[in-house]
Protein backbone atom coordinates (compact mmCIF):
# COMPACT_ATOMS: atom_id res chain seq x y z
CA UNK A 1 0.00 0.00 0.00
CA UNK A 2 2.85 2.35 0.85
CA UNK A 3 4.47 1.75 -2.54
CA UNK A 4 1.22 2.61 -4.36
CA UNK A 5 1.01 6.02 -2.70
CA UNK A 6 2.87 9.00 -4.19
CA UNK A 7 5.97 10.18 -2.32
CA UNK A 8 4.30 13.34 -1.05
CA UNK A 9 0.83 14.86 -1.48
CA UNK A 10 2.05 17.87 -3.47
CA UNK A 11 4.52 15.99 -5.68
CA UNK A 12 3.51 15.55 -9.30
CA UNK A 13 2.58 12.04 -10.33
CA UNK A 14 1.78 10.10 -13.49
CA UNK A 15 1.65 12.08 -16.73
CA UNK A 16 2.69 15.33 -15.07
CA UNK A 17 5.82 13.73 -13.65
CA UNK A 18 6.63 12.16 -17.01
CA UNK A 19 6.19 15.52 -18.73
CA UNK A 20 8.48 17.30 -16.28
CA UNK A 21 11.14 14.61 -16.69
CA UNK A 22 10.95 15.02 -20.46
CA UNK A 23 11.32 18.80 -20.09
CA UNK A 24 14.35 18.27 -17.83
CA UNK A 25 15.92 15.86 -20.35
CA UNK A 26 15.30 18.21 -23.28
CA UNK A 27 16.68 21.20 -21.43
CA UNK A 28 19.86 19.36 -20.39
CA UNK A 29 20.51 18.01 -23.89
CA UNK A 30 19.93 21.41 -25.48
CA UNK A 31 22.25 23.19 -23.09
CA UNK A 32 24.94 20.55 -23.54
CA UNK A 33 24.48 20.82 -27.32
CA UNK A 34 23.68 17.14 -27.67
CA UNK A 35 21.08 15.69 -30.01
CA UNK A 36 20.65 12.57 -27.94
CA UNK A 37 22.09 11.12 -24.77
CA UNK A 38 25.59 9.69 -25.38
CA UNK A 39 25.79 5.92 -25.67
CA UNK A 40 29.16 4.89 -24.32
CA UNK A 41 30.90 2.50 -26.70
CA UNK A 42 33.58 1.53 -24.22
CA UNK A 43 33.59 2.28 -20.54
CA UNK A 44 36.59 4.12 -19.12
CA UNK A 45 38.03 2.24 -16.11
CA UNK A 46 36.85 3.70 -12.82
CA UNK A 47 40.44 4.03 -11.55
CA UNK A 48 41.44 6.10 -14.60
CA UNK A 49 38.45 8.40 -14.13
CA UNK A 50 39.22 8.91 -10.45
CA UNK A 51 42.87 9.68 -11.12
CA UNK A 52 42.08 12.10 -13.93
CA UNK A 53 39.46 13.94 -11.88
CA UNK A 54 41.89 14.24 -8.99
CA UNK A 55 44.44 15.75 -11.37
CA UNK A 56 41.88 18.18 -12.76
CA UNK A 57 40.78 19.23 -9.30
CA UNK A 58 44.37 19.80 -8.17
CA UNK A 59 45.05 21.83 -11.33
CA UNK A 60 41.90 23.92 -10.80
CA UNK A 61 42.86 24.76 -7.24
CA UNK A 62 46.27 26.00 -8.35
CA UNK A 63 44.96 28.13 -11.21
CA UNK A 64 44.64 31.86 -10.67
CA UNK A 65 41.36 33.62 -11.49
CA UNK A 66 40.70 34.52 -15.13
CA UNK A 67 41.42 37.96 -16.58
CA UNK A 68 39.99 41.18 -15.27
CA UNK A 69 37.68 43.97 -16.34
CA UNK A 70 36.23 43.85 -19.83
CA UNK A 71 37.64 40.45 -20.61
CA UNK A 72 35.86 38.97 -17.60
CA UNK A 73 32.57 40.51 -18.66
CA UNK A 74 32.97 39.12 -22.12
CA UNK A 75 33.72 35.65 -20.78
CA UNK A 76 30.51 35.64 -18.77
CA UNK A 77 28.61 35.43 -22.03
CA UNK A 78 30.43 32.26 -23.02
CA UNK A 79 29.85 28.74 -21.81
CA UNK A 80 32.99 27.01 -20.63
CA UNK A 81 33.91 23.35 -20.61
CA UNK A 82 36.67 21.33 -19.07
CA UNK A 83 37.36 18.17 -21.01
CA UNK A 84 39.36 15.11 -20.05
CA UNK A 85 40.08 12.89 -23.01
CA UNK A 86 41.79 9.52 -22.62
CA UNK A 87 44.34 8.47 -25.22
CA UNK A 88 44.56 5.40 -27.35
CA UNK A 89 48.22 4.54 -27.74
CA UNK A 90 50.17 2.97 -30.58
CA UNK A 91 53.85 2.50 -31.28
CA UNK A 92 54.94 4.78 -34.13
CA UNK A 93 58.63 3.87 -34.02
CA UNK A 94 61.00 2.49 -31.32
CA UNK A 95 61.55 6.01 -29.96
CA UNK A 96 58.13 7.45 -30.71
CA UNK A 97 54.65 6.80 -29.38
CA UNK A 98 51.33 7.83 -30.93
CA UNK A 99 48.48 9.13 -28.80
CA UNK A 100 45.07 9.48 -30.35
CA UNK A 101 42.12 11.45 -28.94
CA UNK A 102 38.56 11.66 -30.22
CA UNK A 103 36.42 14.76 -29.73
CA UNK A 104 32.75 15.29 -30.45
CA UNK A 105 33.01 18.75 -31.83
CA UNK A 106 29.65 20.22 -32.77
CA UNK A 107 29.62 22.14 -36.03
CA UNK A 108 29.47 25.95 -36.12
CA UNK A 109 31.04 26.34 -32.72
CA UNK A 110 33.62 28.98 -32.14
CA UNK A 111 35.93 27.27 -29.67
CA UNK A 112 38.69 29.00 -27.78
CA UNK A 113 41.18 26.91 -25.83
CA UNK A 114 42.21 28.50 -22.56
CA UNK A 115 44.37 25.66 -21.24
CA UNK A 116 45.51 22.30 -22.53
CA UNK A 117 47.77 19.87 -20.75
CA UNK A 118 48.85 16.36 -21.50
CA UNK A 119 49.27 14.08 -18.47
CA UNK A 120 51.56 11.04 -18.62
CA UNK A 121 52.62 8.51 -16.03
CA UNK A 122 56.37 8.10 -16.52
CA UNK A 123 59.29 6.33 -14.96
CA UNK A 124 62.11 8.87 -15.12
CA UNK A 125 65.61 7.34 -15.11
CA UNK A 126 68.48 8.84 -13.14
CA UNK A 127 69.88 10.39 -16.27
CA UNK A 128 66.63 12.33 -16.74
CA UNK A 129 64.20 12.38 -19.64
CA UNK A 130 63.36 14.94 -22.31
CA UNK A 131 59.84 14.78 -23.69
CA UNK A 132 58.78 16.34 -26.95
CA UNK A 133 55.13 16.41 -27.99
CA UNK A 134 54.26 16.83 -31.66
CA UNK A 135 50.99 17.41 -33.42
CA UNK A 136 51.01 14.80 -36.17
CA UNK A 137 49.98 15.78 -39.66
CA UNK A 138 46.65 14.56 -41.05
CA UNK A 139 48.45 12.11 -43.29
CA UNK A 140 50.21 10.59 -40.28
CA UNK A 141 53.71 11.10 -41.55
CA UNK A 142 55.16 9.58 -38.36
CA UNK A 143 58.46 10.39 -36.70
CA UNK A 144 60.51 12.81 -38.70
CA UNK A 145 57.58 13.63 -41.02
CA UNK A 146 55.50 16.78 -41.32
CA UNK A 147 54.57 17.57 -37.73
CA UNK A 148 54.43 20.54 -35.36
CA UNK A 149 56.18 20.77 -32.01
CA UNK A 150 53.59 21.56 -29.31
CA UNK A 151 55.60 21.28 -26.15
CA UNK A 152 58.87 20.16 -24.67
CA UNK A 153 59.78 19.32 -21.13
CA UNK A 154 62.89 18.11 -19.37
CA UNK A 155 62.24 15.81 -16.41
CA UNK A 156 65.21 15.45 -14.09
CA UNK A 157 63.72 14.00 -10.90
CA UNK A 158 64.12 10.24 -10.99
CA UNK A 159 61.16 8.06 -10.06
CA UNK A 160 57.64 7.22 -11.21
CA UNK A 161 54.79 9.70 -11.25
CA UNK A 162 52.43 11.86 -13.24
CA UNK A 163 53.94 14.61 -15.40
CA UNK A 164 52.15 17.25 -17.39
CA UNK A 165 53.17 19.11 -20.52
CA UNK A 166 51.33 22.32 -21.54
CA UNK A 167 50.29 22.22 -25.18
CA UNK A 168 49.23 25.79 -25.87
CA UNK A 169 49.26 27.78 -28.08
CA UNK A 170 50.04 25.13 -30.71
CA UNK A 171 46.86 23.17 -30.08
CA UNK A 172 44.51 26.10 -30.76
CA UNK A 173 44.77 25.44 -34.50
CA UNK A 174 43.39 21.93 -34.09
CA UNK A 175 40.29 23.07 -32.22
CA UNK A 176 39.67 25.85 -34.74
CA UNK A 177 39.49 23.26 -37.52
CA UNK A 178 36.88 20.63 -38.26
CA UNK A 179 38.94 17.56 -37.46
CA UNK A 180 37.67 15.42 -34.61
CA UNK A 181 40.67 13.16 -34.21
CA UNK A 182 43.71 14.61 -32.51
CA UNK A 183 46.92 12.69 -32.99
CA UNK A 184 49.97 13.49 -30.91
CA UNK A 185 53.39 11.94 -31.10
CA UNK A 186 55.62 11.57 -28.13
CA UNK A 187 59.36 11.56 -28.61
CA UNK A 188 62.10 11.09 -26.06
CA UNK A 189 65.00 8.90 -25.23
CA UNK A 190 63.38 5.47 -25.13
CA UNK A 191 60.09 7.06 -24.07
CA UNK A 192 58.11 3.94 -24.88
CA UNK A 193 59.96 2.04 -22.18
CA UNK A 194 59.38 4.80 -19.60
CA UNK A 195 55.68 5.40 -20.19
CA UNK A 196 53.12 3.50 -18.17
CA UNK A 197 49.97 3.41 -20.29
CA UNK A 198 48.16 0.64 -18.44
CA UNK A 199 44.40 0.93 -18.03
CA UNK A 200 44.58 2.77 -14.73
CA UNK A 201 47.45 4.99 -15.89
CA UNK A 202 46.05 5.81 -19.33
CA UNK A 203 47.55 9.09 -20.65
CA UNK A 204 44.97 11.87 -20.81
CA UNK A 205 44.55 15.39 -22.07
CA UNK A 206 42.85 18.12 -20.05
CA UNK A 207 41.53 21.10 -21.97
CA UNK A 208 39.63 24.15 -20.79
CA UNK A 209 37.47 25.42 -23.61
CA UNK A 210 35.15 28.38 -24.09
CA UNK A 211 32.38 28.30 -26.63
CA UNK A 212 31.27 31.58 -28.10
CA UNK A 213 27.83 31.56 -29.63
CA UNK A 214 27.64 33.41 -32.96
CA UNK A 215 24.35 35.06 -31.93
CA UNK A 216 25.97 36.68 -28.93
CA UNK A 217 28.75 38.21 -30.97
CA UNK A 218 26.39 39.70 -33.52
CA UNK A 219 24.23 41.17 -30.77
CA UNK A 220 27.27 42.66 -29.11
CA UNK A 221 28.43 44.43 -32.25
Amino acid sequence: AAAAEPRCPSCPAGPERWLLEEVAKKQLLEKLRLRDRPRLAHAVPRAAVTRALRRLQAGGARRSPAGTGGEEEEEEEEQSYEIISFAETDLTSPSSLGLQFQFSQAQDQDLRILQAQLWLYLRVPRSGLTLRIFLASKTGAGAGGNRTLLGERRLSTAGSGWSSVPLLPGLQGFFSGHSRTLRLELDGSDVTAQLNASRSHQPFLVAKVKVREPGHRVAKR
Binding site: P9, S10, C11, P12, L20, E21, V23, A24, K25, Q27, L28, K31, L32, L34, R37, P38, R39, L40, A41, H42, A43, V44, V49, A52, L53, L56, Q79, S80, Y81, E82, I83, I84, S85, F86, F101, Q102, F103, S104
Partner: protein, 114 residues
Protein backbone atom coordinates in the same frame (compact mmCIF):
# COMPACT_ATOMS: atom_id res chain seq x y z
CA UNK B 1 8.93 34.60 -3.80
CA UNK B 2 6.52 31.98 -2.52
CA UNK B 3 6.99 28.26 -2.35
CA UNK B 4 3.82 26.51 -3.36
CA UNK B 5 1.43 25.32 -0.70
CA UNK B 6 -2.03 23.87 -0.80
CA UNK B 7 -3.53 26.99 0.81
CA UNK B 8 -2.92 29.37 -2.07
CA UNK B 9 -3.11 29.38 -5.83
CA UNK B 10 -1.01 32.51 -6.23
CA UNK B 11 2.15 32.50 -8.33
CA UNK B 12 4.73 30.34 -6.55
CA UNK B 13 7.77 28.10 -7.03
CA UNK B 14 7.12 24.37 -7.14
CA UNK B 15 10.12 22.19 -6.37
CA UNK B 16 10.75 19.20 -8.58
CA UNK B 17 13.78 16.91 -8.58
CA UNK B 18 14.73 14.54 -11.39
CA UNK B 19 16.91 11.70 -10.14
CA UNK B 20 19.21 10.57 -12.99
CA UNK B 21 18.89 6.97 -11.83
CA UNK B 22 15.12 7.13 -12.36
CA UNK B 23 15.54 8.13 -16.00
CA UNK B 24 18.56 5.87 -16.64
CA UNK B 25 21.02 8.71 -17.19
CA UNK B 26 23.37 7.93 -14.31
CA UNK B 27 25.63 5.95 -16.67
CA UNK B 28 26.78 9.08 -18.56
CA UNK B 29 26.22 11.91 -16.07
CA UNK B 30 28.83 11.52 -13.35
CA UNK B 31 27.77 14.52 -11.25
CA UNK B 32 25.31 15.70 -10.03
CA UNK B 33 23.09 12.74 -9.21
CA UNK B 34 19.97 14.62 -10.22
CA UNK B 35 18.56 17.88 -11.51
CA UNK B 36 16.51 20.22 -9.35
CA UNK B 37 14.26 21.55 -12.10
CA UNK B 38 11.88 23.80 -10.21
CA UNK B 39 9.15 25.63 -12.05
CA UNK B 40 6.70 28.48 -11.59
CA UNK B 41 2.98 27.98 -11.37
CA UNK B 42 -0.04 29.90 -10.13
CA UNK B 43 -2.19 32.86 -10.85
CA UNK B 44 -1.13 36.43 -11.28
CA UNK B 45 -4.03 38.77 -10.52
CA UNK B 46 -3.51 42.25 -11.90
CA UNK B 47 -2.76 43.76 -8.51
CA UNK B 48 0.15 41.36 -8.05
CA UNK B 49 1.68 41.97 -11.47
CA UNK B 50 5.00 43.69 -11.38
CA UNK B 51 5.91 42.38 -7.94
CA UNK B 52 7.80 40.73 -6.39
CA UNK B 53 9.80 39.86 -9.50
CA UNK B 54 10.15 43.46 -10.55
CA UNK B 55 12.24 45.61 -8.28
CA UNK B 56 10.99 49.00 -7.19
CA UNK B 57 12.28 51.15 -9.99
CA UNK B 58 11.46 53.28 -12.97
CA UNK B 59 9.98 50.15 -14.59
CA UNK B 60 7.62 49.59 -11.66
CA UNK B 61 6.43 53.16 -11.89
CA UNK B 62 5.74 52.87 -15.60
CA UNK B 63 4.00 49.55 -15.14
CA UNK B 64 1.76 50.91 -12.41
CA UNK B 65 0.89 53.87 -14.61
CA UNK B 66 -0.09 51.49 -17.41
CA UNK B 67 -2.23 49.48 -15.00
CA UNK B 68 -3.86 52.61 -13.67
CA UNK B 69 -4.78 53.66 -17.18
CA UNK B 70 -6.29 50.20 -17.69
CA UNK B 71 -4.61 49.57 -21.01
CA UNK B 72 -5.72 46.25 -22.54
CA UNK B 73 -2.15 45.11 -23.12
CA UNK B 74 -1.50 45.10 -19.41
CA UNK B 75 -4.27 42.59 -18.77
CA UNK B 76 -1.98 39.58 -19.13
CA UNK B 77 0.50 38.79 -16.45
CA UNK B 78 2.41 35.54 -16.18
CA UNK B 79 3.99 33.62 -13.35
CA UNK B 80 7.63 33.41 -14.46
CA UNK B 81 11.09 32.70 -13.03
CA UNK B 82 12.66 35.85 -11.66
CA UNK B 83 15.95 34.36 -10.49
CA UNK B 84 17.87 31.31 -11.68
CA UNK B 85 21.05 29.53 -10.71
CA UNK B 86 23.65 27.72 -12.85
CA UNK B 87 24.12 23.95 -12.80
CA UNK B 88 27.55 22.28 -12.93
CA UNK B 89 27.56 19.02 -14.86
CA UNK B 90 30.29 16.41 -15.17
CA UNK B 91 29.53 13.88 -17.88
CA UNK B 92 30.88 11.47 -20.50
CA UNK B 93 30.46 12.54 -24.12
CA UNK B 94 30.01 9.96 -26.90
CA UNK B 95 33.78 9.42 -27.16
CA UNK B 96 34.05 8.71 -23.45
CA UNK B 97 35.73 12.04 -22.77
CA UNK B 98 34.85 13.54 -19.41
CA UNK B 99 33.39 17.02 -19.78
CA UNK B 100 32.75 19.49 -17.01
CA UNK B 101 30.64 22.54 -17.71
CA UNK B 102 28.63 25.16 -15.87
CA UNK B 103 25.29 25.73 -17.54
CA UNK B 104 23.80 29.12 -16.69
CA UNK B 105 20.15 29.73 -15.72
CA UNK B 106 19.20 26.09 -15.13
CA UNK B 107 17.67 26.05 -11.65
CA UNK B 108 14.66 28.26 -10.89
CA UNK B 109 15.28 29.98 -7.58
CA UNK B 110 12.30 32.28 -7.34
CA UNK B 111 9.13 33.16 -9.23
CA UNK B 112 7.10 36.30 -9.66
CA UNK B 113 4.44 37.91 -11.82
CA UNK B 114 5.70 39.54 -14.98
Amino acid sequence: SLRCSQNSDLCCRRDFYVDFRDIGWNDWIIKPEGYQINYCVGQCPLHVAGSPGMASSFHTAVFNLVKANNVQASGHSCCVPTRRRPLSVLYFDRNSNIVKTDIPDMIVDSCGCS
